[in-house]
Amino acid sequence: MKHHIEGSQAVAHTVALCRPEVMACYPISPQTHIVETLSRKVKAGEIGNCQFLNVESEFGALSVLIGASAMGARTYTATTSQGLLFMAEAVYNAAGLGLPIVMTIANRALGAPINIWNDHSDSMSMRDAGWIQLFAQDNQEAADLHIQAFRLAEELSCPVMVCMDGYILTHAYEVVDLPTQEQVDAYVPAFEPVQVLDPQDPVSIGAMVGPEAFAEVRFLAHHKHVRALEAIPRLSQAFQDIFQRRSGGLMDTYHTDNAETLLLALGSVNGTIKDAVDELRKEGWPVGSIALCAFRPFPSHALRHVVQDAKRIIVFEKDLAVGMGGIVSSDVKMALQGLPIIVDTVIAGLGGRPIPKASVIDTVKQACLEGLEEPHFLDLNWDEINRELTRQQAQRRSGPTAENLLREVGPPGTKPV
């Protein structure tokens, strides 16, 4: 049934329908509305015998789920930003142990400087941890991906992060078709763990592995992701069969046929990008776009197939590999090795900076007409950057960079948008 609902509420409602058994959560903006809602549902007895633990840190939260998942329980948590960094050791551990935990990342920037607004730096910091990472374009997909995530995680015995843009999606009210319990039950089977702590059949989990076998264990983790490349589209199709709508899959393509230039991005900015594509097409530009849903595993083969006739791909990414440039675009370039396709990197939307449709359109035109420097930063305030660089050159004790810039730009929220 269609509801007009906040993204966080839609996700919490959907997660509850997936019948989680243990949730452990630690508050951090902008994830809080999700866990508050789930806490209330557990307390009200709406999620069976589900246990909700208020823990002392994100590290504790994921650690609780590691124990619960190894005990055979379906587990869930949500975090973002610094919280994901704080649980980093456990993030790698959960994947290394092959525990099918599902975690929402309400994507947010990483400090310093502290910033609570959206970008993808947090998920990207954990991209090699062994978790499957799925990015939602809108709140319908954010909700739907959780249903697919539980099935995918448990089928492969591999943890899954569902990444949704903090505030832009978590705090946005829009129309979401919420599933019924019957639909979810038909899609997500009961959890049958591949490993479990069972006094009737004692096993040791988490042994030390030496050089003799470590590489093989890691290969098998990689192989699991290779299998996920097959499972993700299959489960997306199975989802469509039951829920009568398309969600998830490796990627979502928009006007890619006969497109010379393709815009590629993760997450909610794809909405704005699709509007930009429509406008550019109206003006006669042969453009299309690709919304990558699966970032880990990276769908290299599928991407090559989709873009083979294009001349240029412009990757809009909400992250920055400092000292290098693009993270997503680096993966795209690796995937397209040998193909005569130009790949541009546009670093955009850092720390909640809006990505206006007009800027997207201008950047596409600039790339096609003049080319872009690598990497290209969208809508940078060069006056402020040059002022600060000058200040730094003029005096040794030039002071903290962030505060110097704020003095010029003003505090957050004083400009209309």
Partner: protein, 331 residues
């Protein structure tokens, strides 16, 4: 040639047992009806107090739970020597995740059991002093504060032994470690700092806190058994000498542990709901010197003799004796 029959004076006692002996010569521990959580063949050093303590503690849990138990282990010596791939010494469902998260992982196991409505299976978590008083302290405090149904056992050998003897928050004053060397004007670990975790555990008001020592395995077993009769967060802190890190004779592990107890440096007590309810009186009080001089980590206190340090350490022991009333009050 005549053979002299060996007399096993430990026959029928609760000391460490050997199942290769005739049934009639075995200790209680070596009887076949006793459980065996930690198999022979693990890779602990000779005279390892932690291996001994862990085996007795977990065997007691196995008996108390009729083998319906799960153990979570922090990273550390115990984890490493018991679980080199593919040889696990554990006869119970056992899990190792990280150095600093064993209490939280155990909370998760307990939560899963609650979710599944299983009250028959119990969970314990265990770690060394580094995992407990330092890196895992936050998770441990959280587990206490939520009163999760977990027994946490700390095997305290008073330093980071797994990484080669570095100081922990549990390292005693003046002890040598590889990060508190016996050099300079104040050799060894500084005086007056560190953490007393049993008292911190008591401050959480959890149902049960106890200290135990491998010097008194019967007492250790009794405390673990009692802990398993209680629901909620429970904490047992076991003193386990480490011959490697303490530079003591592997044959002296029990002796060293006993001197720690008899000197008052490691008081044995139980506390319920934050209040001390029982203590093990010192049978024959010894000076701290007798304890310290058996350990190379305190050698610098005697060559040359550091009277002030010895007096200060004695004062710590005397304060313990007073606080926990370990000696009968003089008339």
């Amino acid at each position: 040639m005549s053979y002299q029959r060996v007399k096993f004076y430990q026959t029928g006692t609760f000391t460490v047992g050997n199942r290769l002996l005739d049934e009639s010569d075995r200790t209680v521990q070596a009887r076949m009806d006793r459980t065996n959580s930690l198999n022979a063949g693990h890779r602990a050093c000779q005279g390892c107090g932690e291996a001994l303590g862990a085996r007795y503690a977990l065997d007691a849990v196995m008996r108390a739970t009729r083998q319906q138990m799960v153990a979570v282990n922090a990273t550390g010596c115990l984890e490493v020597f018991s679980s080199p791939y593919p040889e696990s010494a554990w006869q119970i469902p056992w899990m190792h995740s990280l150095f600093g998260n064993a209490p939280a992982v155990a909370s998760g196991v307990a939560a899963a059991l609650r979710a599944k409505g299983r009250t028959d299976v119990r969970v314990i978590a265990q770690g060394g002093d580094g995992a407990t008083v330092d890196i895992g302290f936050g998770c441990l405090s959280g587990m206490f504060e939520r009163n999760d149904d977990v027994l946490y056992i700390c095997y305290d050998n008073e330093a980071y032994m797994n990484t080669g003897v570095q100081r922990s928050g549990s390292t005693p004053p003046r002890a040598w470690t590889n990060t508190t060397q016996a050099v300079g004007t104040n050799p060894g670990n500084p005086m007056g700092i560190g953490k007393n975790l049993p008292r911190i555990a008591m401050a959480h008001g959890i149902p049960y806190v106890a200290t135990a020592s491998v010097a008194d395995l019967h007492d250790l077993e009794a405390k673990v058994t009692k802990a398993m009769s209680i629901r909620g967060a429970r904490y047992i802190h076991i003193h386990v000498p480490c011959p490697l890190g303490w530079k003591s004779d592997p044959a002296h592990t029990i002796k060293v542990a006993r001197l720690a107890v008899e000197s008052g440096l490691f008081p044995l007590f139980e506390a319920e709901g934050g209040e001390v309810t029982d203590r093990t009186p010192i049978r024959k009080k010894v000076s701290v010197e007798q304890y310290l001089e058996l350990q190379g980590r305190f050698k610098h206190l005697f060559h040359p003799r550091d009277e002030r340090a010895l007096e200060t350490i004695q004062a710590i022991a005397d304060a313990n004796i007073h606080r926990y009333q370990l000696l009968p009050l003089k008339a």
